[in-house]
């Protein structure tokens, strides 16, 4: 199984990817994933490999299952009692649906940024140190460093360094979202999942987040769900097009946008529906 996981991308990926396949690893390998909300199937036979240190965009019309998909990657879908899944998701070669798999470990390694900024109603400082603290880091000096490093990483440090003790709810929407990114960076995850992180933000805040995503991919693997096709085109390396719970096409972003293989992808990105 392990060997299979490692070899698979070279077979499935496009020729351009092939050359790099030797040093490009996958963080995720999704196999035959199906998901139901009660009786409604939201994901149908999803197969996808998600490469390391790249930005993978997931696009598609509303209700196509893209948010559901990204939430299965850190098992957040479990929070809804009626959800049933089958198939496998391998994160770093381990099946996260395995009964023995520690979901808290997974979520420590795989951070998530949500559609609506959701800082805790605590100070900016407390928001950032929340993650390190629950994982047992208590040394004040270390925590201070984490705060500075994470806020710098999220391009927020200069704006808030003089008011770290103030309530995070007083920040603007864009700042709150970058704080949520900083909060996620504070525990140094391996992957960052972003579920339409800019859909509630104004264009300037959106631009800042997009630049940030470009920066972050040096150190993190990023999966981003977006409604905005231009955004996918600007910031992602690979793009998956979802429609009615199925992956219609998954390829390099350049290929998807210049010469899509499937008629439906072409219709969607040229704005004929969705």
């Amino acid at each position: 199984m392990l060997a299979n996981t490692k070899n698979a991308p070279a077979v499935e990926n496009s020729p351009a990817q092939n050359k790099e396949a030797v040093n490009k690893k996958n963080v995720y390998k999704v196999e035959q994933l199906n998901l139901w909300y009660g009786k409604d199937q939201a994901l149908i036979n999803v197969n996808m490999d998600i490469p390391e240190n790249e930005v993978t965009a997931i696009i598609g019309p509303s209700g196509c299952g893209k948010s559901t998909f990204i939430k299965t990657l850190n098992r957040m879908t479990e929070m809804i009692p009626i959800v049933k899944t089958n198939g496998s998701i391998y994160y770093r070669n381990e099946n996260i649906f395995n009964k023995k798999y520690q979901v808290e470990y997974l979520r420590t390694k795989v951070g998530m940024v949500f559609q609506k900024p959701n800082p805790f109603p605590k100070s900016i400082y407390e928001n950032v140190v929340y993650g390190p603290k629950i994982h047992g880091i208590k040394d004040k000096k270390v925590l201070d460093e984490v705060v500075e490093k994470s806020l710098k990483g999220a391009a927020l440090w200069d704006e808030v360094k003089d008011r770290l003790k103030e309530n995070a709810m007083g920040l603007s929407g864009g700042q709150q979202q970058r704080l949520c990114i900083a909060r996620c960076l504070a525990i140094e995850p391996d992957v960052i999942l972003m579920d339409e992180p800019t859909s509630a933000l104004d264009p300037i805040s959106t631009l800042k987040i997009e630049e940030l995503v470009q920066d972050l991919k040096k150190d993190y693997s990023i999966v981003i769900v977006t409604h905005n096709m231009q955004q996918a085109g600007r910031i992602s390396d690979k793009t998956a097009f979802f429609l009615n719970g199925e992956v219609i096409e998954y390829d390099d972003t350049a290929t998807i946008f210049s010469s899509p293989q499937d008629k439906r992808t072409e219709d969607y990105i040229s704005g004929r529906f969705g």
Partner: protein, 313 residues
């Protein structure tokens, strides 16, 4: 064509109806006045009660003197040489309230955390109404429960517990207010947005960490307000302490012997031990006033806390 004529006739009907709606307009004008009168009645009643309390308290203090009432530590109103120091009654009341809160806060809060953070929808939907039914049991039933069940039970553990004591009614008052603490705290915790829990779960928190470090602090103002309201309820509780607490105003802080609370004293005198116009008779207004001040302060405190410590989310 047909549709169009239909439409016209409907609009004509509305027009013709609207000319006949004088009654409706009159009612529309009268209703606010009616509602205002209802609101004013309830306010006037409260004001009337408070004024009565104040005037009768003054006539009591004219005889006894405020210094004796507030500074003396002995309460023997029915004695040949009566003494009217209110402190034994206050201490009796606070003893019951403290015992009650020691029982109600941990259990009520644990119950709220379970309901809000752990229980499935189905469990919550079953347990919450049950809690609210518990809150509706008449307090006299709790009083008999304290006297005839809890006290004998406690006597097995503490042999020299007297039949009337502070411990048993204190515990039972605590049990009585558990549903209130649980229900109000649960409301405060459920009001914390789900997105905040998701944010915490996504950082690898366990359920317990989410409950204690995110939901509880975010709901703190509501939770503390529920505690304060519960204290106010415990202070004002009457039947349980009258039935099971005894009638012995003391300052010795012994939970195993009989005490008397402010409310129990008012019951004792109201039941006819004192004739109209006597000093003892007026003393119940002074005690009532003290009680009112306590519960009023508690309610103001609860309001202040829920505003002041509100963590906006």
């Amino acid at each position: 064509m047909n549709e169009r004529s239909n439409k016209t006739s409907i609009s004509k009907m509305i027009e013709s109806k609207s000319s006949q709606q004088g009654m409706k307009k009159a009612a529309e004008g009268l209703m606010p006045k009616f509602f205002l009168i209802c609101a004013v009645i309830s306010i006037l009643t409260t004001v009337g009660i408070v004024l009565t309390l104040i005037f009768e308290t003054f006539s009591f203090l004219e005889v006894v003197g405020i210094s004796e009432f507030l500074l003396s530590t002995e309460w023997y109103p029915l004695h040949g040489d009566p003494s009217y120091g209110v402190w034994p009654l206050i201490m009796g009341t606070l003893m019951i309230a403290v015992i009650a809160m020691i029982i109600a806060i941990p259990i009520g809060l644990a119950c709220a955390i379970f309901l809000s953070e752990y229980a499935s929808d189905k469990t919550r939907r079953t347990i919450k109404p049950v809690l609210e039914v518990l809150a509706g049991i008449p307090t006299i039933v709790y009083g008999f429960f304290a006297l005839t069940f809890v006290t004998p039970l406690l006597q097995n553990i503490i042999p020299d517990l007297s039949i009337y004591n502070a411990l048993s009614p204190g515990i039972v008052v605590g049990v009585m207010i558990i549903p209130m603490v649980a229900s109000l705290s649960e409301d405060a915790m459920s009001a914390v947005p789900q997105s905040m829990r998701e944010g915490a779960f996504a950082l690898g928190s366990t359920r317990f960490e989410v409950a204690m470090k995110v939901v509880l602090p975010a709901a703190l103002s509501g939770i503390i307000a529920s505690f304060v309201l519960a204290v106010s309820r415990a202070i004002g509780e009457t039947m349980i302490v009258t039935v099971a607490g005894g009638a012995n105003p003391t300052m010795d802080f012994d939970v195993t012997s009989a005490v008397q609370t402010m409310t129990a004293y008012i019951v004792q005198v109201s039941l006819g031990d004192a004739g109209y116009g006597t000093t003892e008779y007026y003393s119940i207004y002074a005690v009532g006033m003290t009680l009112f001040v306590f519960t009023l302060l508690m309610n103001i405190l609860a309001q202040f806390i829920s505003k002041r410590f509100r963590e906006a989310y």
